[in-house]
């Protein structure tokens, strides 16, 4: 039993089901990260003492991560464009780069975290609300990056077989994954200045 409008857009709404679905999911994610940002602002503005954030966190590393993630957004959209042009080889190249960028992001992040734990005294979530919310925000974001990497890896690997039988459906899948991935980038675009620069 086929569900209509899974691959073809419904004429009056102009949408496919997965595209509408992912945007709705992203709306909820906006509220999730928005709640955490609101919590951050409330905690910081109500705190008697708040550390100078950029003195504790590693701005150069985070800048590098920002560049990596933005690059991965470009490679992601290029991988989709490659599929629209029926070029599986280019798709694999760009999706592969996207995956590697994600990996790079997580590697840099692990260095960041390690330096917090190895600091003397260790900088743990319990050390202060700033460190606590830093770990929560970046940790939750990191989990989202991991999730995206799993999806991207699947699409690069076993999932790409669908291109042979149902190219349009596969292209839509990549577009949907791309929307999620761009959102993860979007969150970081706000996280970076708020946590590291202000």
């Amino acid at each position: 039993m086929e569900i209509p409008y899974t691959v073809d857009a419904r004429p009056d709404t102009g949408l496919t089901n997965p595209k509408l679905g992912i945007w709705l999911f992203l709306a909820s994610e906006v509220m999730l990260f928005g709640s955490l940002f609101s919590s951050y602002v409330l905690l910081r503005s109500g705190a008697e003492f708040w550390p100078v954030q950029r003195d504790i966190l590693n701005v150069p590393l985070a800048t590098l991560n920002t560049i990596i993630l933005i690059s991965s957004s470009v490679t992601m959209v290029l991988s989709w464009a490659a599929l629209k042009m029926h070029n599986l080889a280019h798709f694999k190249r760009y999706m592969g780069l996207t995956f590697l960028c994600g990996l790079g992001f997580m590697v840099v992040k692990s260095f960041e975290y390690a330096s917090k734990f190895q600091h003397v005294p260790p900088l743990l979530p319990s050390s202060s609300n700033f460190i606590g919310i830093y770990f929560l925000l970046t940790g939750l974001h990191g989990l989202h990056v991991l999730g995206g990497m799993v999806v991207n890896g699947f699409l690069w690997g076993p999932g790409s077989r669908m291109f042979d039988t149902e190219p349009e459906k596969f292209t839509n899948r990549v577009e949907v994954a791309g929307l999620y991935w761009h959102f993860v980038d979007l969150v970081w675009i706000f996280l970076f200045p708020i946590l590291y620069l202000l």
Partner: protein, 594 residues
């Protein structure tokens, strides 16, 4: 995001004519790990009914302690264990667990899964003429996340110190330092929230994308509109509680102090944390969800009542368009009223005035919807079927609930009423004789569609009249106690307070009412199972209804699509008693000119 595909079907090449090869799924695939919305709807329904019974039982136990404080609980007292009720006498710690879990189970494991997961899943695709939900596999995942969350919640009773005991509202800093069961509550909530989010995505996409040809927005049954708005509430409000649960989880497990202020002293010992936290942050995040959540509780029931009333008055709903605009406005406003739960937290008169104003404004669409339903009865030829009895009772009961909300929504009047039994009376009126009566109406109404049989009318009437009387004995006295200043969440029902002396006797009245209410549910339970085998056989359009769900066959086949051919809709949802028509109803998919 996964694309939908049916179990057992080979992937059809795009554009090829669809050859219907049906491979019958095995038992597990058909009934346990099903992707069919009807099976999933039934799974939600049965699971949530069990949770409702469980939550009700917890309350019946609590009501013993309230009526006869300090006396051993009969029959089951010894089974509760020494940690909870030594000698059968309930400890305050256990009372608090019962209270917190009664609320949690009823709201998150009972009413919403039944109203949205059960009714929504089963009925919405049928009412819009769709073969299934937009994302069947996501639908299955939603159910299992709910199930796992529910199991975690139940298992929490076995944690050291028992289940969560800081109220269903889990206010900080108390919940931060509560026993381990609170952590289980947080994990359970994360599972439940994830389930709801996936479900919300599914419902909205389904309603937008899978409406049958000709089913324009203003031809939708009001029930579908209600589910649509409800899903937006779930989608955009639940993440706030997700965030809050993570923050509290870190406070409890990682030693953070997001909600712990500096210098907090617990039992004479200064808490060794970094401090600087804000306990009210929890309240803001929690109520940002929990206020829309109460509309999640009521909207589907309003939808059901609308369907049942239209059907049993043989008239179109009065003011359908107005009701639709009202429900959309209500959904929107529900996001800006939350701090009326926080009037006494010292926010200041300016902010209190703001939230009081928005709260008064939000009562307008509620009144419009309720009035429209009342007006729908005018000049009607009413069939007093069991579903209609419950739907009719909903109207004044929800009216009482809504009206008693008004003094609570006015910040000055709320000062003496906040945290008293008045509040408990108010919200139970809207949820219990309100929503739950609406849900009963729905069960009696759609039972013939699901099973092909009618429920027994005699048992149904006994269930109704007994419940209706008993439920008012449970909740009406709460307003009196509340006006006398009796606090909520007192494990001895106010026995120690001089100001409660004159109204303490009402505890016994309410408890008797609660146990009587419990007894009358037996009529429902017996009816429900007995009718499966022995109920009168029903035709596929048992109630002569207009909506598309009744155009499907009775007991629509599992994993097989719902309609032999895709229905085409030609008319609005409630074309009853159309002048000149052959019958007193015209189904939405009937092309016949009136």
């Amino acid at each position: 995001m996964e694309h939908a595909s049916s179990v057992g079907h080979p992937a059809a090449a795009h554009g090829a004519p669809h050859v219907h090869e049906h491979v019958e799924p095995g038992f597990l695939r058909k009934w346990v790990f099903s992707v069919d919305h009807k099976v999933i709807g039934l799974q939600y329904t049965m699971t949530s009914l069990v949770f409702l019974l469980l939550g009700f039982t917890l309350m019946m136990i609590m009501r013993w302690q309230l009526a006869y404080p300090g006396q051993p609980i009969p029959l089951i007292g010894k089974w509760l264990g020494v940690a909870n009720a030594p000698g059968g006498i309930m400890l305050p710690e256990f009372y608090n667990q019962l209270g917190a879990m009664h609320g949690t189970i009823m709201v998150f494991l009972g009413v919403v899964p039944l109203a949205v997961g059960g009714f929504g899943n089963y009925v919405v695709p049928l009412q819009i003429g769709a073969p299934d939900m937009a994302f069947p596999r996501l639908n299955m995942a939603s159910y299992w996340f709910y199930f796992v969350g529910g199991m975690i919640m139940l298992a929490s009773f076995l944690a050291p110190g028992g289940a969560a005991n800081s109220g269903w509202t889990s206010y900080t800093p108390l919940s931060d330092i509560a026993t381990p069961g609170q952590t289980w509550w947080l994990f359970g909530m994360l599972m439940l929230i994830f389930s709801s989010l996936l479900g919300a995505v599914n419902f909205i996409t389904t309603i937008v994308q899978l409406r049958a040809p000709g089913l324009t927005w203003f031809r939708l049954p009001f029930f579908v509109w209600a589910q649509f708005v409800t899903s937006f509430l779930l989608l955009l409000a639940f993440p706030a509680l997700q965030a809050a649960a993570m923050l509290q989880g870190m406070d409890r497990l990682a030693g953070t102090s997001f909600f712990l202020p500096s210098g907090l002293v617990v039992s004479g010992v200064v808490k060794q944390v970094a401090g600087g936290g804000n306990p009210l942050l929890w309240q803001h995040l929690f109520w940002f969800l929990a206020h829309p959540e109460v509309y999640v509780l009521i909207l589907p029931a309003m939808g059901i009542v609308a369907e049942v009333i239209a059907n049993n008055t043989r008239k179109p709903l009065w003011g359908y368009r107005l009701m639709v605009y009202s429900i959309i406005f209500l959904g929107f406003m529900s996001f800006v009223v939350w701090a009326h739960h926080m009037f006494l937290t010292g926010m200041g008169t300016g902010i209190n005035a703001f939230f009081q104003t928005t709260t008064m404004i939000i009562s307008i669409p509620s009144v419009i919807i309720l009035s429209s339903l009342f007006l729908s009865l005018y000049g009607a030829s009413i069939r007093f079927t069991t579903p209609m009895l419950f739907a009719l009772a909903f109207l004044p009961m929800f009216g009482i609930g809504g009206l008693t909300g008004l003094p609570l929504g006015l910040s000055a009047a709320d000062i003496p009423l906040h945290d008293t039994y008045y509040v408990i009376g108010h919200f139970h009126y809207v949820v219990a004789p309100g929503t739950i009566f609406g849900l009963f109406a729905g069960i009696y109404y759609w039972y013939p569609k699901v099973t092909g049989r009618m429920m027994n009318e005699v048992l149904g009437r006994i269930h109704f009249f007994g419940s209706f009387v008993a439920i008012n004995f449970v909740f009406m006295p709460m307003f009196i106690q509340g006006l006398h200043g009796v606090n909520r969440r007192l494990y001895d029902g106010g026995m120690q307070y001089a100001h409660a002396k004159d109204v303490l006797y009402l505890n016994t009245v309410m408890s008797m009412g609660a146990w009587t209410l419990g007894l009358f549910q037996l009529f429902f339970i017996v009816n429900f199972f007995w009718s499966l085998r022995a109920g009168k056989k029903a035709e596929s359009n048992a109630w002569h209804a207009t909506t598309l769900d009744w155009a499907a066959t009775s007991s629509p086949p599992i994993a097989h699509g719902n309609f032999d051919t895709i229905p085409h809709v030609y008319r609005s949802a409630y074309d009853y008693s159309v002048p000149g028509a052959k019958a007193d109803f015209l189904p939405q998919n009937a092309a016949e000119r009136a």
